[in-house]
């Protein structure tokens, strides 16, 4: 047991913070978020070509660095601190993870090097409604073997309007219990992509409409379990990465708000000297620390899971629970932090000019994405208490 960063991990963290301090300041974030694309292509290239973050946890044989999930979460955390705008979460935590989980050797060799080159990618699976697991898939496929045809509408697709590659989840139109994942180029005929304006402008979403999209047989990822469990695992891995980002945001907005209260004076003293302000800050600090423990526990579990038979099986088996705990805790912690920070700022926190609202909006959007706290707590409750409908486990 040695639950702290290694020296190398501390270096990665410090390098990440330094890079983003220079490349993703408030002005850069605001320029990026105002564009429909949602990011500065030069920033994305720097992130890939200088930092190699997009391939941090991809094995070396596919052009990656072969680092672990802990390292990926360190980077996500750093990006969360700065609200950095890039198609990173979608490309790495959604699409690349999907290939790692479900692609066979040939499919990984086909697609992962394209990601390593800097192409962007995302996952489309959600057909609407309130669920955030494989049951949310409503798009359909027909065919078998050599060719497949895909049809359906997809919503909440992160960076879906700009991604170069798409990972699509669909059900067999003949048998709703059979779920599959397909990897394809985004410009394949029959795909219509619509950018959606969002309250949180720092993360872009699109809706996709697929009509008779025809793909070759090898687009269907060979390792995807038909029962949806592979997709659920993919969402668990994504939850952990997103929780890391939330954890970074929680810490950053706390520090910014505390710095503000140290400067602002009322009643002849800094507002930081008022106990009501100190205690709010302390409550956020508590959640920020616990969030950190949640994320890096879950990241360690993800590492064991991705290590397959070489990993610690007992820890690997905790993946769904670890992901649910991290996402539930960090979602609520971030919103608590951003909401209370806004109060600490007073009137300026309500302006477009100050960054408080950017964190506040990101906190809400990332809380909802992949399921909010209540959703993930109910998953855990089902494990502890049996299903809610009165059935026995």
């Amino acid at each position: 047991m040695d639950f702290k960063f290694t020296e190398e991990q501390v270096m990665i963290r410090d390098a990440a913070d330094a890079f983003l301090l220079a490349e993703a300041d408030s002005a850069a974030v605001r320029t990026a978020m105002a564009s429909e694309l949602g990011y500065d292509p030069a920033f994305w290239r720097a992130l890939c070509d200088q930092m190699y973050w997009h391939v941090a946890h991809i094995p070396e044989q596919y052009g990656g660095l072969g680092l672990g999930y802990v390292e990926l979460c360190i980077v996500m955390q750093a990006m969360g601190k700065r609200l950095a705008c890039a198609p990173f979460f979608s490309t790495v935590a959604l699409a690349a993870n999907g290939l790692l989980l479900a692609g066979n050797e040939a499919q990984r060799e086909q697609w992962l090097p394209r990601i390593a080159e800097g192409q962007t990618a995302t996952l489309a699976f959600h057909g609407g409604g309130r669920a955030w697991d494989a049951t949310a898939v409503s798009g359909e496929f027909t065919g078998s073997g050599d060719t497949y045809t895909l049809n359906g509408d997809y919503c909440y697709v992160v960076d879906g309007h700009s991604a170069d590659l798409l990972l699509i989840a669909a059900r067999n139109s003949q048998d709703q219990h059979e779920l599959a994942l397909f990897m394809l180029d985004a410009d394949t005929a029959g795909i219509e992509r619509q950018w959606q304006a969002t309250m949180d402008q720092t993360r872009k979403q699109a809706s996709l409409s697929l009509s008779n999209v025809t793909v070759a047989g090898n687009a269907r990822l060979a390792g995807c379990q038909a029962d949806g469990s592979t997709l659920d695992t993919l969402l668990d891995l994504a939850c952990i990465a997103l929780a890391a980002e939330q954890c970074g945001g929680t810490d950053a907005i706390l520090r910014q708000a505390v710095a503000y209260t140290q400067e602002r004076e009322q009643f002849g003293r800094t507002i930081a000297s008022f106990q009501a302000i100190k205690h709010k800050a302390a409550d956020i600090a508590l959640k920020s620390e616990v969030a950190m423990s949640a994320v890096f526990y879950a990241a360690c579990v993800a590492d064991e899971y991705l290590a397959g038979s070489a990993g610690d099986g007992e820890l690997a088996a905790q993946l769904p629970e670890a992901a649910a705990m991290a996402k539930a805790y960090c979602s609520d912690a971030y919103f608590f932090a951003a909401g209370n920070a806004m109060q600490m700022y007073g009137g300026v926190g309500f302006t477009w000019e100050y960054d408080a609202h950017l964190y506040f909006k990101r906190a809400k959007s990332s809380e909802v994405l992949l399921g909010n706290g209540a959703w993930h707590r109910e998953r855990i409750a089902t494990g502890l208490l049996g299903p809610a409908n009165g059935g026995e486990t």
């Binding site: 040695d2 639950f3 501390v10 620390e289 423990s293 949640a294 409750a381 809610a388």
Partner: protein, 393 residues
């Protein structure tokens, strides 16, 4: 980052688990799971015998260096020890104040003679200790102690006069460590001394205080020219030593405490499944939240114990008391809400409480002793976040 324990540690786990299984039987069967917080007034004699049984097996003071009779266990093995102890239902340790607080302080600040005199009694489970800090006018504001220490030339010793209050287990104790004022002209944390006082002498009177549970675990202690056998350090160093002692409080035993919390949560879950509360959405969410909170408390503690390489040891440690105390108090309320109307009905008159009822009442003290939640928030804000210190009257 690594979460799993290595094989040597797992072997140690088997060893201690085996010893506990063999020894927590026969006459000690009845005290399994008894005598913890809220139940400390029960089975005093049996638990003292058990303490000595532990000592004979070499299982007291396991974290102390071997030269003082400890086992010099690594942090990992101490964690395992405390976990297995709680898992096996080991009774509340009557010697915990000596082992966890007095002993480490004497090891750190005592002379060779003092170590020789006091450590064996703690190690062998034959001498019990209590903590004489709080006074009627010195609660959160500990520096306001008024108890006096005067050097009596005739007796060639320091003599203590004054009153302590809320002194846990004073009625069971052989020794008390007392913070008292050596310099009558001094103010606040200056001019204090740290004294070791024998409780069995005419100048010491112990009066029990009845708690809201109807039982009595803490006391008022009156000193009237009571002889202090020793002073630790020099007169004037009492504050420094007294604060260092509080640092030992956040030790590895927290993980054992968490295992006891787990036993309580398990009891609540089993009850909820039996009485149907497990179907209520609100209860499901809260049980799940309690489960998450406890698991994350564990990882937070592991981070805290793994040391400072991630640069945030202090912050993980700073929030620890606020976290567990608040969590535990919520658990007490959850227990009562799962009990529902049955929660009002006592086991027996005049005031016999079930374990869960007692949990509900007793956990109200968790956010008061050892630094109230408000004091903890002040500490987090000031030391963790660098916010201004409280104004003093």
């Amino acid at each position: 980052m690594k979460l799993s324990f290595d094989t040597a540690d797992e072997q140690f786990r088997t060893e201690i688990a085996g010893w506990l299984a063999n020894n927590l039987s026969g006459e000690f069967e009845t005290i399994r799971f008894r005598g913890g917080p809220g139940d400390e007034h029960m089975f005093g004699e049996e638990r003292k015998r058990w303490e000595q049984q532990m000592a004979q097996g070499g299982w007291t003071c396991v974290g102390w260096p071997e030269e003082y009779g400890g086992r010099g266990l690594s942090i990992e093995q101490q964690v395992i020890f405390h976990e297995e102890y709680a898992r096996a239902g080991g009774p509340g340790r009557v010697g915990h104040i000596g082992e966890g607080l007095a002993g480490p302080t004497i090891i750190e600040f005592g002379t060779a003679e003092q170590k020789q005199k006091y450590l064996p009694g703690i190690r062998n489970g034959t001498e019990l200790w209590c903590q004489g800090y709080s006074e009627p006018s010195a609660g959160s504001d500990l520096a306001n102690v008024k108890t006096k220490a005067e050097y009596d030339q005739g007796r060639q010793a320091w003599c203590i006069s004054g009153q302590k209050v809320w002194t846990s287990l004073a009625h069971e104790s052989d020794w008390c460590f007392v913070i008292a004022r050596t310099d009558p002209q001094s103010q606040r944390h200056h001019g204090l001394g740290f004294f070791l006082v024998n409780m069995h002498q005419p100048g010491v009177e112990v009066r029990p205080i009845t708690q809201l549970t109807g039982t009595s675990e803490f006391n008022e202690v009156f000193f009237d020219q009571a002889l202090a056998e020793d002073i630790l350090g020099e007169p004037g160093e009492g504050w420094k030593i007294g604060m260092a002692l509080l640092g030992f409080e956040r030790g590895v035993s927290t993980l054992g405490q968490q295992m006891a919390f787990q036993n309580e949560l398990d009891e609540i879950i089993a009850l909820a499944r039996r009485n149907g509360a497990a179907q209520e959405p609100d209860i499901r969410q809260r049980i799940s939240e309690a489960h998450i909170g406890l698991r994350l408390m564990r990882y937070n503690a592991m981070r805290m114990l793994s040391g400072p390489a991630d640069g945030s040891l202090d912050s993980a440690a700073l929030v620890y008391k606020l976290h567990w105390a608040s969590w535990h108090r919520s658990l007490g309320k959850l227990a009562m809400d799962v009990l529902g109307s049955e929660g009002e009905l006592l086991m027996e008159p005049p005031y016999e409480l079930s374990r869960l009822q007692s949990l509900f009442l007793f956990t109200r003290s968790d956010t008061i002793y050892g630094g109230t939640n408000q004091v903890q928030r002040n500490i987090i804000a000031e030391r963790g976040l660098g916010m201004p210190k409280e104004p003093r009257g």
